[in-house]
């Protein structure tokens, strides 16, 4: 049940470690998913590579080239405290605050949340509506992948062996917008989401919705019809537009929720989160930071 533990100091040392670990490695950042698996015996790696020694992954949240950059080792508590995050990406702050208790938020990294790639990852829906980009460093160089192309299957991303996420970029947008995030859970205390929904509205743009825990991956859906814009439209048309958006989802029944309930909550939350996003836009969401 034990494993080899490595904590490389440089990215080259990291790749050397991978090369020297034929049995594969488990990457470790905050540990709030990985160590649970290690404790329970559901994750049985030959080697664990601790990423926290890599300076290339560590920095304060920074505004860079029109984006707000969250380094791989930034934790949820960092996000929640960041003023720019709260002003420009409030839905992500809302989601980060629900990831778990304060003890969890003090360790869980944003990068880890998306790399774990649970279909129910709380931060994924807001990241999707904000058009987040995932910066990846691999043996052949850097690349940037839109988050909507990052998830491949439950717990599977497009990362190749040797890849490591270095940051997640959130593009600032010039025009005002409103965004929100909502979940349904089994209790008010911290819980995995039964269903989660995020929404972003802006003038002159189709509304974006993203859904969690209702498909093999977190799902982005864009309202091409334009009905779900900044202004409330005709109820029947709105209902139809939402229904069309939800066609991408495929809720299942599990120990946290039944299929019908999830489907109904998707509809209900979509309406609520749209209303909230519109309200925030109305109140004056901000432009570029």
């Amino acid at each position: 049940m034990t494993f080899a533990y490595h904590r490389p100091r440089t990215i080259d040392a990291f790749w050397d470690t991978l090369a020297g670990s034929p049995g594969g490695v488990q990457l470790l950042a905050g540990g709030t998913d990985v160590v649970v698996g290690l404790n329970k015996g559901t994750t049985v790696p030959a080697a664990v590579v601790d990423l926290k020694g890599l300076d290339v992954l560590r920095s304060d949240i920074a505004a860079v080239d029109g984006r707000l950059r969250v380094a791989a080792l930034n934790v949820m508590s960092d996000l929640i405290r960041d003023e720019r995050m709260r002003r420009h990406f409030p839905a992500l702050v809302e989601a980060a605050a629900e990831v778990g208790s304060v003890q969890i938020r003090n360790r869980a990294t944003l990068a880890g949340n998306i790399c774990n790639a649970s279909p129910a990852a709380d931060t994924a829906p807001p990241l999707l509506v904000y058009g987040a980009m995932v910066k990846i460093l691999g043996p052949t160089g850097d690349r940037s992948v839109p988050l909507r192309d990052f998830f491949a299957a439950p717990r599977v991303t497009v990362l190749e062996p040797g890849d490591v996420v270095t940051a997640i970029d959130l593009p600032f947008e010039p025009q005002p917008r409103g965004s929100a995030f909502l979940r349904v859970t089994r209790r008010r205390g911290f819980d995995l989401g039964t269903v989660s929904v995020s929404c972003l509205v802006a003038r002159g743009e189709p509304a974006r919705f993203a859904f969690g825990a209702v498909g093999p991956t977190p799902l982005l859906a864009v309202d091409e019809s334009g009905v779900l814009g900044p202004e409330p439209g005709e109820p029947a048309a709105e209902g139809e537009a939402i229904e069309r958006l939800l066609e991408v989802t495929s809720p299942i029944s599990d120990v946290r929720g039944g299929r019908e309930y999830r489907a109904a909550m998707l509809d209900a939350l979509s309406r609520r989160v749209l209303a909230r996003a519109r309200e925030r836009l109305e109140r004056g969401a901000v432009g570029p930071g």
């Binding site: 034990t2 494993f3 080899a4 533990y5 290690l38 601790d50 208790s101 304060v102 003890q103």
Partner: protein, 158 residues
Amino acid sequence: MGTSLHELSVTVNGQLRTLRVPPHHTLLRMLRDDLDLTGTKECCTEGECGACTVLLDGTAVDSCLVLAVEADGAELTTIEALADDEPLDPLQAAFVERGAVQCGFCIPGMIMTAKSLLADNPQPSRADVVEAVAGNLCRCGGYTFIVEAVLAAAEAER
């Protein structure tokens, strides 16, 4: 599969300790088994109950979700760092006085979480306290006295 031990140096409650631990041992286990600091409790081992809360470099974390080897070079504060007798730390005193202590098993974790809260936010609102201790389960009580105790301790420290 080899069980190579890793050497680590960690400052625990102000004292530098050097240990050798296998990589799969959690910080919680190291504290309780290797350092005989049994004040920190083990319950769920999956970060849901908070009974194992300690301060790692001043931040409240579930020690069951940190591998001991990750703590190399870090500063740890456990319940044992607070007073062990009269006069008690204001949090400890308030917990006893306000009826927050029943069986006591959740209490070390609660107090460490509260300690972290008050360090960041010396004048928390009731809602702040509730949010902070939401990751610490108590089965004996209904949390009200615990919240009162934290607010009272904050008041006492002013």
